[in-house]
Symmetry: C2
Subunit: 810 residues, 2 copies
């Protein structure tokens, strides 16, 4: 405080030269908008009067006083903001003022009195006239805001540990609202949407900092500053470059010009879109600021998905009707039903809708609704408003500051350019252009930038683990290849069974009374399967393709509705009762733990015989026709014991030998197993005697290790997460302590028996960064995830390798 | 051979003084009736003629020749026995002979020719005239009989390893069928049913050995031998005592008297009932033959159950109508539906019936049917017949040799004393008296002998692991105490919920719309639960009682049928549709992996609060009223994580504290957890921070470790066992390699965190000897099993300790 007083030549609490302060949270990892900043600390009746005299502006002094009371009331005492807004609205009404008319000085003074009364009435305590008490209370409030729900949610979403903690910075106030020679602004040293190396920001003339971020007034572009405050602008550019050089990263800078003098209020790493993160990192490597390793490590894998988020189908987009245009606040495209409150958007999303959240402006309370929505549209605020910043952070498309949007929350309608839309109507948003469209426009995959390709190449240089895709058909396989997949780690053959032209044969196969009937139905399916595999092999060329034999319980293929049952019974020439009897026989109490996977293969070997015939014949034909050496990897699900695997492997070998003899051509193939039953982990040493590869099926393994049915425990897991009983949904991010310990054991035991055994993971979790890091540490050969997660997986794998190097000093 | 020839002064293959041989299997562990013995080897046309001259009996010579051809044909060449029987039947018919009329010598000679022709016709080869070839073929056949299906099944049932192997003994033939100064017999050195120390056996005059065992003729008691062959009898008694002394065990001796001279053909450890095994061992300790340790080790735990097998309800028994009487061949009582073939008995047992197998005589092919039946009744054969010996071995009740029983397999009827019974009719058998009763007589628990109590005391001296019972109510607890239980290891509180007067409140609790409604319903249940616990504590006095909090998914308590649903809806004042909706909401796709166990406790803490209140209040009242210090052990099911346990434990502690304050009395209590989810094993070190004891719930743990739903995979497991993919049903005998490895890990981790943690096992498998041995090795404090298995568990625990001592030399 002494230092501050010396530097500013003012004294805290001294009406002769009053020093006003701000208290600002300062967490080591930025959490923009999540924590409190309390301005104008240190004003009271006496100082307000003195300030009016010293600045020659009563308006400034009482505006500042009013703001101070409101900030203290809401942030320190927890009074609802709307109570203060109500006072303002009432006063405007009583005085007959229009929305944009300024208050007179007398009206401001009366507002201060009303504010003080409100604080007294609602909290039982006066607004403190003691500046020191104001300061101490403000510091407590800033520290306290760390534990607030929205801050906790933000940390959870961004993987920031709860125990990092925050500082509370005490700064001298400067004022951007002391007249027309003042302004306040926020700027990024590079474009946070695209990453382009140009200053990007906004200013508000004669305004105080929070007003920019809150989006209440629509600001000017920072280029305006160059015209109005040329010297300040030049200084700002210099400082911005300096800050970037020192921190070696793009900066988010808050500043104020008070009477033509520039003050920097705060500088921190700037939030950016995933696209911008890639471009900035690649540019900074070229500028010599950071190394390639640093560039890769700096990518936020949880954001990467947004790079690949689909944009609009160009054909549809061209024909689409632009309804209005707002500010392009966060890139990407989104279409969905519109909702006007966060709660309703969340509820609609939970019931399965794709939704857009439309708000006058967003506030931190809206976070959950923004997360649930596909895109966000606001009427007020700019590209650095709360809506824009949060949307970029969580990878949602956002159009902000659309003036022609008018929302009536109560009636649940929105007017856009005079046209009325009701809750649930469809709109589409283009976050990269700010355009808003009527109805629903289909979306397609995004193009990939040059910098993105560069980043991926660097990542590929660093990573040790291979990335494969879970893909069941050629289109998925092509998409996976475009994203850099090095093979298919999981082709689920049952997905091929569900197609319309096949399902009757599948049902006949299941309901067959004799093995002969079953074989007849399987023979009908065989050409379909062979053709599927041929096209898949051709698409993947000579990359590895792991095909999992039939996995789900058979009743999954049987009719679900009564109507369907009638149809099927007719097709199969049986009565509905007969069919029902058969279906009842097949139905299980706990199908997840029933007759499925390799257990089907053991009781009905003819099913996998057909599949193996199809796989081998397809590989041989592709070799003959395209000269491609395909090495199919045949994977057996749900193995729990070496002997069980031995029996199934024998069927496979015999069938494969038979096909190769028939076709007079030998090809290489591999036989391996899913490790997805806890017992398989515990006995992996003996299972490895029969298996050439292990693929960890972490979905089932998690179900059985926890005893959590994925079909039934969704809400339970959510409850557990909320109560801190689970750090994350174990079906999204691998449970490293439990499931991971079993996997680690299995990997060690497997390698003990067969040192060169191939290890991979193909559950949902294999596309999640922390899980990929775990797989790297365990020494897996590959992870296999859905195509859209592949680029992220490549980065995550590289980061895991680089972090390990850093840890071990290799 | 040279030795044999020297001793007998005969020569193999020499018509001048022909030596005939038998080839007899000799496995180190007796498998009576399971393997082949081939008699009369070394006879041919020339030797038969010579034998006739030398013995002066053509009848003897050609009977022997015919038997030799039949034995060679069936046992060496695999010709069906019925082909030979057919020839005999045809000849009798053609010659106009009645069933009991003997063949003339000429007819015997013609039978020999027919037998030879049959062998030639069916095998393409002549009956070999070369005695050496006969011998070699016979030896091969005896070795080969080791791998026969029935021998393999017997080994499996008796836990004899497949690789123990057998000898093939070559012996000189002696003949019990050379005239009225000859006989053949089988005797046990003590009574194999009761263990009484008296010779027990049977002889057949003028007969060959196999005829006794096959039960074709009904033999005389061995006491007859004393009259007819007094010297031989005296010698036999001496030899029997000698054999017993040497082998230190009761002997099963086959002998023949040939022309007043006694020959011992074979002596081996005798099969006996569990009751006899106890008495013999206790007697032999008293006789100074064996040590107490040896006596305990010698008990066959897989048989022990039969000691406690219920007998008939004495009241019902008194009023029951005796239909006929046979020989008391294997003790115990049985009631069931009658079937006339092993296959039908097996099928009926599988469909859930209690069945009795009725046969003319049994043969080794009937083994599976005998295992499936509750009891066996035969028309022919004595107390050492196949039926009797097998029944004693597998602990089934058996009445043999009931002359008045006549079975018509084809018509599926049996006549007993002229009354006709059809397949599926009920009969009851008393294996201890040989009485056969009309209809079904209820059964009750057996009384326990003095020797049995002695044996149990010895076992208790040796064992280190405690034996508790799974018991849910005072009658079960009393039964458990009578059998020696040292506490209750598992009281399943939900069993108390199902009673008629409580289920409405349980349903109201489950279907409650609000917590208030739910608490109201729980308050109604509380007095019931408290009373249950009070009576249980009073019964068990100060022994430990572990109470598991509510475990199953709630929908198990909801109405199952439509009718029931209507009733419940009415009771609850809701429409059937509303009820259905609610029930649908609660129903799960995989209930085994759903919202149950501690998960219920977390989402509905009020349920376990009620239960804990009931437990604590009950313990306090018992202390107050009976001055008994009860230390309740409160057990939480389905824990998968330390934090989860922490939350539930907090509810328990708070509730317990509350009750103790209310009642103004503090008592000790313990909180622990089931370990039944694989993740709990893997993270047992952290779980042990919260848990004072672990109880391994091996039912659920096996389900999740294997991914086997017990409700769905019964037939799959059977198939796996049949195919050798599972050594045993893992729900019956613990899977030591898989589930056991997880338990071992959990025990080590648990003790690492909390060295004095109490470890127990309370799944079904905890009553199985191999599992108990595993528990001993892991160092568990107790196993808890159903009351009837407790005596066996005491013995198994003692054997485990003694075997470990022997292994480690402690």
């Amino acid at each position: 405080m002494e230092d501050l007083e010396n530097v500013t030549d003012k004294r805290f609490g001294d009406p002769a030269a009053p020093l006003l302060l701000s208290v600002r949270a300062g967490a080591p990892i930025p959490m923009p908008g999540m924590m409190d900043t309390i301005l104008n600390i240190g004003i009271n009746d006496e100082i307000a009067e003195a300030l009016a005299k010293q600045t020659g502006s009563e308006r400034f002094a009482y505006e500042t006083y009013a703001k101070a009371i409101k900030a203290y009331g809401t942030m320190v005492k927890g009074v609802s903001k709307s109570r203060f807004d109500l006072i303002v609205a009432a006063k405007r009404f009583n005085e007959g003022l229009e929305d944009d008319d300024p208050f007179s000085v007398e009206q401001l003074k009366s507002l201060v009195v009303s504010y003080k009364n409100t604080v007294k009435k609602l909290t039982g305590e006066d607004f403190p006239q003691d500046p020191r008490k104001q300061l101490m209370d403000a510091i407590s409030a800033v520290f306290g805001s760390w534990n607030r729900e929205r801050a906790a949610l933000y940390r959870k979403l961004n993987g920031i540990p709860d125990d990092v903690g925050t500082a509370a910075n005490v700064q001298a106030m400067v004022f951007g609202n002391m007249g027309e020679d003042c302004c306040t602004g926020v700027a990024f040293t590079r474009n946070p949407s695209t990453g382009e190396n140009v200053i990007f920001g906004e200013i508000l003339l004669n305004a105080q900092g929070a007003e920019v971020v809150s989006g209440l007034r629509t600001p000017d572009d920072i280029s305006a500053m160059e015209d109005i405050f040329p010297e300040c602008y030049e200084t700002f550019i210099k400082i911005a470059r300096l800050l970037e050089k020192q921190d070696k990263d793009m900066q988010d800078v808050e500043f104020t010009v008070e009477k033509n003098k520039l003050y920097i209020l705060q500088a921190r790493k700037g939030e950016r879109t995933a696209q911008a993160a890639v471009r900035i990192a690649v540019d900074m490597v070229e500028e010599g600021l950071i190394s390639r390793e640093e560039a890769v490590l700096r990518q936020d894998t949880s954001q990467m998905g947004q790079i690949l988020h689909p944009g609009f189908d160009p054909e549809k987009y061209e024909k689409a009707e632009v309804l209005a245009t707002g500010l392009p606040a966060s890139p990407g495209a989104a279409a969905g039903r519109i909702y006007f409150t966060a709660a309703e958007a969340e509820a609609a999303a939970k019931s399965g809708y794709e939704v857009l959240l439309l708000r006058e402006e967003t506030s931190p309370e809206d976070l959950a609704g923004m997360v649930a929505a596909q895109g966000i549209l606001t009427a007020k605020g700019g590209t650095t408003s709360h809506a824009a910043m949060v949307a970029r952070g969580i990878g949602k498309c956002c159009v902000a500051g659309c003036d022609s949007l008018d929302i009536d929350e109560e009636k649940r309608i929105a007017e856009i350019e005079g046209e009325v839309f009701e809750e649930g109507d469809f709109l589409s948003l283009d976050g990269s252009t700010g355009k808003i469209f009527r109805g629903k426009i289909d979306t397609v995959t995004q193009e990939i930038s040059e910098e993105f390709s560069t980043m991926m190449e660097w990542a590929d240089d660093f990573r040790e683990i291979k990335i494969r895709a879970n893909a069941d058909n050629p289109p998925e396989a092509r998409q996976a290849l475009a994203f850099g997949a090095e093979g298919i780690g999981l082709c689920r053959t049952e997905h091929m069974f569900f197609r319309d032209e096949r399902i009757p044969a599948v049902r006949r196969m299941i309901l067959a009374a004799t093995e002969v009937e079953r074989r007849r139905a399987l023979n009908e399916l065989m050409p379909f399967q062979k053709a599927d595999f041929k096209r898949l092999f051709e698409t993947m060329e000579e990359r590895p393709v792991t095909i999992r034999l039939l996995d789900p319980p058979l009743h999954e293929f049987l009719p679900q509705s009564e109507e369907e049952a009638r149809e099927v019974a007719e097709q199969l020439g049986m009565t509905c009762e007969e069919l029902e009897d058969k279906v009842d026989n097949i139905r299980e109490i706990n199908p997840m733990l029933g007759r499925r996977g390799c257990r089907l293969a053991i009781t009905h070997p003819e099913i996998i015989e057909m599949q193996v015939r199809a796989i081998m014949a397809a590989a041989i034909e592709v070799k003959r026709e395209k000269k491609l050496d395909i090495i199919p990897e045949i994977m057996i699900p749900l193995i729990s014991d070496e002997k069980e695997l031995g029996v199934v492997k024998k069927y496979i070998t015999e069938t494969a030998d038979h096909v190769m003899t028939e076709e007079d051509m030998a090809i290489e193939y591999r036989t391996g197993t899913m490790i997805e039953v806890p017992r398989a982990c515990v006995t992996a040493d003996s299972i490895a005697r029969e298996a050439e590869f292990f693929s960890f099926g972490t979905n089932d393994l998690t179900q059985m290790t926890y005893g959590f049915s994925r079909d039934d425990t969704g809400s339970l897991i959510y409850e557990y997460e909320e109560r801190g009983l689970l750090p994350a949904d174990p079906f999204y991010s691998l449970d490293i302590d439990g499931v991971g310990a079993l996997i680690d054991m299995a990997a060690k035991k497997g390698r003990h028996t067969r040192p060169n055994i191939r290890l991979g993971m193909c559950g949902e979790q294999a596309g999640e960064p922390a899980t990929i890091e775990f797989c790297h540490r365990v020494g897996m050969d590959y992870v296999s995830c859905s195509p859209y997660r592949i680029p992220m997986a490549r980065i995550a794998a590289a980061q895991a390798a680089l972090r390990e190097e850093a840890d071990t000093g290799i």
